[in-house]
């Protein structure tokens, strides 16, 4: 996956999801592409970032040479703390997750199905897996957003009828951003909501592996500024 791919850059993808965060939301960002959501300028909105390792209210990454070696986010990156931050242990951190205190989690994925199932912990044929906090977050956050590329390296669709690889959670995804567009999972299935500049509806259809509801006029993906 690279920013040389068609359509939106990874930062533009994450900016679009970050626009959905509401004032006061507690947000948990998965490792990889989703961490870019924290670069978005939230203006007057107060957004509190929660990391699985018990860091509540972390801020931007630290510059090289200024790292606090006792402080990382869930991706192992050295971060700063905003005023009002708190540190809790892992059980309390996941207590916040399971009891529904997290408003949204943004996760990467290999596949998202039209019924809201998604898979992100085990590649096809892999022995073992990398679950981390994804199953707790996906099962319990109020909203689950996914950021991923439209197709695999081999050009296969990642938006599918049913996940072919083991799922992380079932029926939980609300919103998906890819480099091709913004998709919503509704009770009726998957719907294209916005399309990336330079991408045609035919290209979206050709690279999507499930039924897609497409409005007559598809608005462009919203960009800030």
């Amino acid at each position: 996956m690279s920013d040389g791919a068609k359509g939106l850059t990874r930062q533009q993808m994450c900016d679009r999801l970050a626009m959905e965060f509401q004032d006061g939301w507690i947000v948990n960002l998965g490792i990889g592409i989703p961490t870019l959501c924290s670069n978005f300028d939230f203006g007057d909105k107060q957004i509190i970032f929660h990391a699985e390792n018990g860091v509540i209210g972390y801020g931007p990454l630290t510059g090289a040479g200024r790292e606090d070696l006792h402080l990382v986010n869930a991706g192992g990156q050295h971060v700063t703390l905003h005023p009002g931050a708190a540190i809790v242990n892992h059980a309390d951190s996941f207590g916040m997750i399971r009891s529904g205190r997290i408003d949204v989690t943004v996760l990467g994925a290999y596949e998202v199905a039209e019924n809201g199932d998604f898979a992100n912990w085990k590649m096809a044929g892999q022995k073992g897996g990398g679950i981390g906090g994804a199953m707790d977050l996906a099962a319990c956050a109020k909203h689950v957003f996914v950021a991923m590329e439209q197709v695999t390296r081999r050009g296969q669709p990642r938006l599918v009828e049913r996940c072919a690889i083991p799922v992380t959670a079932r029926g939980v995804v609300d919103l998906v951003i890819t480099n091709y567009g913004l998709y919503e999972i509704t009770p009726e299935g998957m719907a294209l909501r916005e399309i990336a500049p330079g991408i045609s509806v035919d290209e979206v259809k050709a690279t999507t592996g499930c039924n897609l509801s497409i409005p007559r006029e598809v608005p462009p993906v919203k960009v800030r500024g």
């Binding site: 990889g32 090289a64 990382v72 192992g76 892992h90 199953m135 707790d136 319990c140």
Partner: protein
């Protein structure tokens, strides 16, 4: 007067750990990882260990030759791991663990991270099992007991007691009351609660009893049994800045 909890060396603190023990290793992305105790256990050499930890290696703030669970794996000391990561998070990454796992030399139990934490908290809290919504409907739940509460399905998970917990803390008093710094806390208090014997590597000089205000204690010394002060580098292992680690790695590959 009970025996002092303060030990003079890591070797002495791990000397009696028998083959077949279940050992929890705290820490998350190096922070709070018991780096010095990993080294001591590798030298001590006990076999057939079940190792509980978030993952099987460290992160960017330790050079690749620093002690991690990989030292125990290479030494053929590990029978089984219980982790939330048993595969690399990036396709380009290679784990020592994976070589052994793919050959069938090590068993693995893969557990969602919140479930792993809660299983140890439960063990330390006298709770034999609990129900959680995590992993319901996934491959991990196949063939296992679930139950519906208030219309929602939950998976039964059992407590995970440990024989030993290896953890790292910022400050300790001689009774074993601990304070952690920043994200160093992570799994460490939970592993200590779950363990029969908790061994702590301590960053600052071990304080006299009473030096930590009772309101500021993060983990009661009731859960702590052995304390070792970490010597300054190079004798003791300490995390380093990512740029410093990268420099050392470049020098190593140039040699």
């Amino acid at each position: 007067m009970p025996k002092s909890k303060v030990f003079q060396s890591f070797a002495e603190a791990v000397a009696d750990i028998p083959d077949g023990s279940t050992v929890g290793f705290g820490g998350f992305a190096v922070v709070g990882m018991p780096i010095n105790l990993y080294e001591a256990l590798a030298e001590q050499g006990s076999k057939g260990l079940t190792c509980v930890s978030n993952g099987t290696r460290g992160g960017s703030t330790m050079p690749s030759d620093a002690p991690t669970m990989e030292w125990l794996i290479r030494n053929d000391q590990v029978r089984k791991v219980i982790c939330s990561f048993t595969a690399p998070t990036r396709a380009s990454q290679k784990l020592v663990f994976s070589e052994y796992y793919e050959k069938g030399l090590i068993e693995a139990e893969l557990v969602p991270q919140g479930t792993l934490a809660e299983r140890m908290r439960a063990a330390g809290a006298g709770i034999p099992a609990f129900y959680t919504p995590a992993a319901v409907g996934t491959e991990l739940a196949e063939g296992r007991e679930t139950r519906v509460f208030n219309g929602r399905e939950y998976l039964l998970e059992e407590a995970l007691p440990l024989d030993y917990a290896f953890i790292r803390a910022h400050q300790a008093d001689a009774f074993g009351n601990l304070r952690f710094r920043r994200s160093q806390r992570n799994f460490n208090p939970l592993m200590a609660m779950a363990a029969r014997v908790t061994i702590v590597e301590v960053e600052e000089d071990i304080l006299p009893v009473g030096a930590i205000d009772p309101d500021d204690v993060h983990l009661s010394g009731i859960f702590v049994h052995r304390l070792v002060k970490i010597p300054p580098p190079p004798e003791g292992w300490w995390p380093q800045r990512p740029a410093e680690v990268a420099k050392q790695e470049a020098e190593r590959s140039a040699r």
